[in-house]
């Protein structure tokens, strides 16, 4: 391992060659403020355009200040991270960024978890000495994501994630200078672009420029309407994520409390999407079997292999980029839509409720579901199978709004009949879990025997192509 020796704030340290000043300083407890820089540890992916200049430091012998996030440690370097020159430059740059930003923290969805707000506080900005014209861009409201580019600070994280991680390539910087902004080509709305609504750009945006479309008010309107029967379905991931919003350990399973909270909010029926996941699996399993037997009996037209179709983001990625392969994925609906269709037909009939008097709400971990339920093919005479999809965060908001002390709630059970589910759909949440469950179902359908224990791990993993043999 090649190493270099340098001093930061008069402390000598040794780091691996290639380490940035930002990382090196962190190892000795010096946290240099940063804004545009982002590291996705799990993916080992970095965004470092060096654009915000909030992380600048003084390097002896260098004419101008150096961005710590982008400058690599060199042998013998002498670095100062908080001289008057550095602190003044940081504050001035921060004031500039704020001078081109609406002061809307009080009503901003991001307030409290906004990096811009946090860094401004950290730098102690109390006055903006450089006021002037602010840049304005057209708003963009899609079914899943709201873009308010007046709040964009050009950190380019969204662009990096959309292009390099998700490989969708919708976002890029357009215009120049003061008018520069990150947007789909020709400043189109997301709705008209090839966006999959995967929501990753929203997840990494440090400000309120990109936020999820909030449907909590629509949910409240339905709940207080006495003519409506309101049915809710919750995806498996929600019960593991919800507790965190109420100060519990991340990953704590809060299934029972969540069901109680939903009843307290006024939902008439609380169901588990898992049930519908089982249906999706059965459909997909039957479809594999059908395609396989056709193939084996000599049908050359049949499409193989089969791809799962329960992620709406993935489905639109395929539609936009591989339009000639639309017949490869399974034709089964996603669990969310499977559930909605059954709720508004079978369940509505069973309860003696008219279809249009039933409101189906889903609580989902991903933004693409908000878009999915607006797709035309998932509605009957303009009435959507799933009326709206809210995120775990929105559900937490609803619970807080209703003054429910979540941690103190007792546990309740999901409603039947759709509260039942087999073990198969529990593995739904893991990558490749769906295809494993589908293969399992196919085996059982074909052999009429229960599959004991087969190692399907290769189907679940992330490394390369997945296979299972038996």
């Amino acid at each position: 391992m090649d190493i270099v020796k340098l001093t930061i704030d008069d402390k000598t340290l040794v780091v691996e060659k290639g380490t940035t000043l930002l990382e090196a300083a962190k190892t000795i407890g010096i946290n240099i403020p940063s804004l545009c820089y982002m590291k996705l540890e799990d993916l080992n992916f970095e965004n470092k355009p060096g654009g915000c200049r909030v992380c600048v430091v003084e390097v002896e012998g260098r004419r101008n200040l150096a961005p710590a996030c982008k400058t690599v440690c060199e042998e013998g370097m002498k670095v100062q991270t908080h001289t008057v020159r550095v602190v003044n430059a940081r504050r001035t740059v921060m004031e500039l960024i704020l001078s081109d930003h609406p002061a809307e923290c009080l009503t901003c969805a991001k307030s409290g978890e906004c990096d811009l707000q946090t860094v401004a506080q950290k730098l102690g900005i109390r006055e903006i000495h450089y006021q002037g014209e602010q840049s304005h861009y057209k708003g963009d409201k899609s079914p899943a994501i709201i873009r308010d580019m007046d709040k964009c600070i050009m950190c380019r994280r969204c662009e990096t994630v959309c292009n390099e991680v998700q490989t969708v390539g919708v976002l890029s910087a357009i215009n120049r200078g003061f008018e520069a902004v990150v947007a789909p080509a020709f400043e189109m709305d997301l709705d008209h672009s090839t966006c999959t609504y995967c929501g990753q750009c929203v997840a990494v945006c440090p400000t309120g420029a990109l936020t999820e479309r909030d449907y909590t008010w629509k949910v409240i309107e339905a709940l207080v309407d006495p003519t409506k029967t309101v049915v809710v379905q919750t995806a498996p991931a929600v019960r593991a994520a919800l507790g965190e919003s109420f100060g519990m350990e991340p990953g704590t399973l809060v299934t029972g409390k969540m069901v109680t909270a939903l009843r307290k909010l006024g939902f008439d029926y609380v169901f588990d999407t898992d049930f519908a996941a089982d249906l999706t699996i059965m459909e997909e399993g039957a479809e594999i079997l059908d395609r396989l037997s056709k193939h084996l009996s000599g049908d050359k037209e049949v499409k193989l292999p089969i791809l799962t179709s329960c992620c709406p983001g993935w489905v639109s990625f395929l539609e936009h980029n591989f339009a000639d392969m639309k017949d490869v994925p399974s034709t089964a609906k996603s669990p969310q839509q499977m559930f909605g269709a059954i709720a508004k037909s079978y369940l509505a009939k069973k309860l003696g409720v008219k279809r249009e008097d039933m409101v189906v709400v889903s609580v989902m971990p991903c933004l693409a579901k908000k878009y999915e339920c607006t797709r035309e093919e998932f509605s009957v005479n303009g009435d959507p199978d799933v009326n709206m999809s809210i995120s775990t965060r929105e559900l937490a908001q609803l619970i807080r709004n209703a003054n429910i002390d979540f941690k103190q709630l007792t546990d309740e059970e999901f409603d039947n009949p759709m509260g039942e589910s087999t073990g198969a759909s529990v593995i739904f949440g893991t990558t490749g879990g769906v295809i494993e469950a589908a293969v399992r179902t196919a085996y059982e359908l074909y052999t009429k025997k229960e599959l004991k224990k087969v190692d399907f791990e290769e189907l679940r993993g992330m490394d390369g192509i997945r296979q299972a043999t038996g």
Binding site: G51, L65, L96
Partner: protein
Amino acid sequence: MQTGGPSGGCLTEKHLDTPIDYEHLLASGSMMGSGGMIVMDEDDCMVSMAKFYLEFTVEESCGKCAPCRIGNKRLHEMLDKITLGKADEGELTRLRNLANVIKDTSLCGLGQTSPNPVLSTMDNFPEEYGIHVHDGKCPAGQCKALMHYIIDSHLCVGCTLCSRVCPVDAISGDKKTPHIIDSSICIKCGACMDKCKFGAISVQ
């Protein structure tokens, strides 16, 4: 004397003997740059000159880094304020600080040099900036907002010529009595001054 294009700087008579080469121009606070050279006299306003160059850099900024994208825009707005006589006492301190920070923190050469016209005019012509801000006047008579056309009542014979050429009817007065200009209407076109045969109209 301005050399080096929009990223360059201004030099004064004390620099007259500076050899024109890369090192010497840089040492004197300007640069070789595009090799261009503009000679100006006391009728050219240095604040307006700096503003003119900033217009160019605001256009040219790519927008990638914050100090150049937003900072140059603010520099331009501040210079504009000064030429309009709307700047307050603290403006010059802020202007210098901002110019220095943009130079110190910008990502590429454009932002690192774009404040040069501001800094070099501030260094070499501090009094011009001072007069704009403190006295609300433009010594070169270029900043229209700071100019006032005035009729000297002792010299005016009341010939009415000026009031007839004024495009906005800003001049009033009876025949053979001294005329006056209403500065709230006057658009500072200078037509009256050109017409007056008695040298009664001046700019202050």
